[in-house]
């Protein structure tokens, strides 16, 4: 356990009533996270997806959250104002139960990083591109216990270990390093 530390909590407020389903958030997110930056575009790589079912008037922008190696024990299904949402519609997890928030080639999990950038962006790009204010941004300061956060590489490796087992990953890494 670390000591108490001041922390900025970054919140994207999602107003689903204002979403018109254009998916500009997906476009700019995937462009920002491309290598080189903005070099390509592909909503499938976006860390925000709009769950849409236009004829049922369903539009939910959902952000990629934590990777999880296993599904929940059960699934949830919401009905709000008479509208029935898909299973796990509001869930942010990159999870084996669905194809959301995975790199299309590797299957590696994606996670929203609030557009960390140098120099820092004023707001995450999805918010900047949402002219209808379905997405707005807020920061506030909070005090909390600090804990070590696994880095991107570690999250990726963990998911590969879950998929193939640690031994196989070690073997592969060893073999790849010999090639060089």
């Amino acid at each position: 356990m670390g000591e108490k530390k001041k922390k900025i909590v970054k919140t994207i407020k999602v107003d689903v009533d204002k979403c018109n389903g254009c998916r500009a958030c997906e476009v700019v997110c995937s462009a920002f996270h491309a290598t080189p930056k903005y070099g390509s575009n592909n909503p499938e790589r976006s860390r925000i997806r709009v769950i849409r079912d236009p004829l049922k008037d369903i539009y939910i922008p959902v952000y990629a959250g934590e990777y999880t190696p296993s599904e929940c024990m059960g699934r949830d299904k919401y009905t709000i104002d008479g509208k029935e949402y898909d299973e796990c519609a509001f869930c942010r997890a990159s999870c084996p139960s669905r194809d959301l928030f995975k790199e299309p080639d590797s299957g590696l999990p994606l996670k929203c990083d609030m557009c960390e950038d140098d120099p820092p962006q004023e707001e995450p790009l999805c918010v900047q591109w949402c002219l209808n204010d379905a997405l707005t941004y807020e920061e506030r300061e909070e005090e909390e216990e600090e804990e070590e956060k696994p880095e991107d590489l570690e999250i990726g490796l963990e998911s590969l270990v879950d998929k193939y087992g640690l031994d196989k990953i070690m073997d592969t890494v060893a073999r790849m390093s010999q090639k060089d």
Partner: protein
């Protein structure tokens, strides 16, 4: 690496069930950009004029625009091109929505359909996996219903589906292709799809689209977004509310419909109701719209919200945009409630919202005049609304009189005879037009009606105000921030344009000015249609975020093609001329280039002839509207003039009249 485009087309032969992925030549992109430009090239190369619209050799091309799938804001159009069964000319109807970017992400710029399937099928494209699938269970299903059923059976809610309804299956000459909130409606391209036995194309893609100079490209996109905000806060003054903002006309949002309801014609493009719009009507119409509109909806990557989900109690939900809100209402002389109801059925059937209501109103006029009889109309209800439903149902099934009406007013009148031709009074090149009847000839609009090859006024107008502003101060105010003009002279043209007196219609704008104005307006549409950009952010509204000054930068940094204003203007002229060449080869001539005779009350035959003469010259066309050998050479289109010479369309001596081609003769 190819930038912005994928560099691959999908060639599908439905007769043989063959599918091929074909690499395209990047030099063609440089010459014709993409979308409409490269479509025109393919139709020129592969569909000779002997090929009938319903021949297996006719091609149906679904194309994404060059910049679709990049972050270019509002760039999402699918350009569908084929030979129209109604006009017998090239049709290039377009739709927004989500289909074109999805096709790009699947790895293709175009889907080129040829042949005919013996059974009803649909195409399923998922990246490299492409299948022709049985659609017999979808026969007769609505276009929107079909899309939902396909997504369900594929278990692919993220797939984007373009589909036809019953009208397309039955080859109605004004059948559309529907895609959720959007549709490619004009020219009967849905009938060609139905003729090919193709019910739908579903697509899903998960690949990347690359930009050549990404940081520069994103800066341009951000500038567009910033300017959209500026325009939202600064609507254009001095024009009807419907024309003041960006996007396609904001029919789903705006309640003030005075301009449309009192200026446009009701019934079969017949009656002006100059006193129609009252407080009482406005209150009722506001309620009608508010009651059924569930949400504003956008197309892919666009902050505008031109469409809406419409839910009328008791019938299934659908999506609507633009002027279809009014066409059924005004043709049937009813009210907005009925308009919303019948538009739902029409959308599922998949029909064009200009031609369809007009054809029905035309039929009722013929019935009132005794040209169509009780026998023809056997079973038609007596109430007005009932009659429109009845006619719509007959037309899309081609039952009884519906089989005749399904060919549109021009061909139906030919078939009915007995003076019916006079009632098909609102066509250009056999195609139903916006229901508009005005007083004084407007020289700019005269040229656009005559020569617009989309054969739809909204697809050529836009950059220059439709009417003069009454006061000079207002005009000075207007030109202050008008940076979109390609040349400063356009500001002067507008400044000097008066409502009355010497500098007013029809002799002002002068012939020369009219040529300049039409050419500029048309050019912007042609650029949009190659790039896949929505006209609503570009060529249609006044003072748009995309214009001739920033487009070359978008193309250079996005597609990696060196571009400047001159080169872009030249490219647009090249494929615009190629569209004309396709039509000229199919028999289109000067005599076809005229507005509906009753469009204006006051006509000026001498001036009109001069306008057309000078505009043809300006464009490099001879007095028959045929591109000249020299003009074609300058555009690198020598292959067109060789073909023209061979067919006797052009002769080495340009003074001699060209001979009639097969497509020009009346259809059997």
């Amino acid at each position: 690496m190819r930038y912005a485009e994928t560099g691959f087309n999908l060639e599908v032969d439905l007769s043989r069930g063959n599918i091929e992925r074909v690499e395209t030549d990047p030099r063609e992109t440089e010459l014709y950009l993409g979308g409409l430009g490269t479509n025109a090239k393919i139709l020129w190369d592969r569909v000779p004029p002997e090929v009938e619209p319903f021949s297996p050799d006719n091609l149906l091309i679904f194309s994404a625009g060059l910049l679709c799938g990049t972050p270019a804001v509002g760039c999402n159009r699918t350009i569908v091109s084929t030979i129209s069964p109604q006009t017998l000319l090239m049709a290039y109807s377009m739709m927004g929505g989500f289909w074109a970017p999805e096709l790009k992400y699947a790895g293709y710029d175009k889907v080129i359909i040829r042949g005919k399937s013996p059974n009803l099928v649909y195409l399923w494209i998922y990246n490299d996996k492409v299948e022709i699938r049985d659609a017999s269970h979808l026969k007769g299903k609505g276009a929107i219903e079909t899309a939902e059923l396909i997504k369900e059976e594929l278990k692919e809610p993220k797939a984007q589906v373009s589909a036809i309804g019953l009208a397309g299956e039955n080859r109605v000459y004004f059948a559309s292709i529907e895609q959720g909130r959007s549709s490619a409606s004009r020219g009967g391209i849905g009938a060609v799809m139905g003729d090919k036995g193709l019910k739908a194309i579903a697509v899903r893609g998960t690949k990347d689209i690359n930009s050549a100079r990404p940081v520069e490209f994103m800066e341009l996109c951000n500038e567009v977004l910033e300017y959209i905000k500026v325009r939202a806060e600064n609507p254009i003054k001095g024009v009807p509310p419907i024309l003041a903002g960006l996007g396609s006309p904001q029919e789903m949002a705006i309640h003030d419909e005075e301009w449309h309801t009192t200026n446009f014609a009701w019934g079969n493009a017949r009656y002006r109701k100059k006193d129609y719009w009252t407080e009482e009507v406005e209150k009722k119409w506001t309620e009608s719209l508010e009651n059924v509109r569930e949400r504003f909806v956008s197309c892919y990557n666009c902050p505008m919200k031109c469409g809406a989900t419409v839910s009328v109690p008791g019938i299934s939900t659908y999506m609507m945009k633009c002027y279809s809100k009014l066409t059924y209402t005004m043709a049937s002389m009813t009210d907005l409630d009925f308009g919303f109801k019948i538009a739902q059925r029409a959308t599922e059937y998949g029909v064009d919202a200009f031609s369809t209501p007009q054809t029905m109103a035309f039929a009722l006029e013929l019935y009132e005049a005794g040209i169509l009889t009780d026998q023809d109309m056997d079973g038609m209800p007596s109430d007005n609304e009932g009659r429109f439903y009845w006619l719509l149902d007959r037309i899309v099934r081609r039952e009884g009189i519906g089989d005749v009406l399904a060919n549109g007013t021009y061909w139906a009148a030919q078939q009915i005879g007995k003076g019916a031709e006079a009632y098909a009074h609102n066509n250009i090149k056999k195609h139903e037009q916006l229901p508009l009847k005005l007083g004084m000839l407007n020289p700019v609009y005269f040229l656009m009606y005559c020569t617009g090859e989309k054969i739809n006024i909204t697809q050529i107008e836009g950059q220059f105000p439709q009417a003069p502003y009454p006061k000079r101060e207002q005009r000075e105010e207007f030109v202050k921030d008008w940076f979109q003009v390609p040349d400063e002279k356009f500001k002067q043209y507008f400044l000097d344009w008066e409502l009355r007196g010497e500098n007013s219609n029809p002799y002002y704008p002068t012939v020369k000015m009219s040529c300049d104005i039409v050419d500029w307006q048309e050019k912007m549409h042609y650029i949009d249609d190659a790039l896949g950009m929505c006209a609503g952010l570009s060529s249609f509204p006044l003072k748009p975020p995309y214009h001739i000054h920033n487009y070359p930068k978008f193309i250079s940094s996005g597609a990696g093609i060196d571009m400047d204003e001159d080169k872009l203007t030249h490219a647009a002229k090249r494929y615009r001329t190629l569209v004309r060449a396709v039509n000229i080869r199919r028999g289109m001539r000067r005599k076809d280039e005229k507005p509906p005779e009753d469009h204006w009350k006051k006509r000026f035959p001498e001036l009109e002839a001069e306008l057309l003469d000078e505009y043809y010259k300006f464009k490099g066309w001879n007095n028959q509207g045929i591109p000249t050998k020299e003009a074609l050479h300058e555009l690198g289109l020598d292959y067109v003039s060789e073909d023209f010479l061979q067919r006797g369309i052009l002769t080495d001596n340009e003074g001699t009249p060209s001979k009639e081609t097969s497509a020009e003769k009346e259809k059997k």
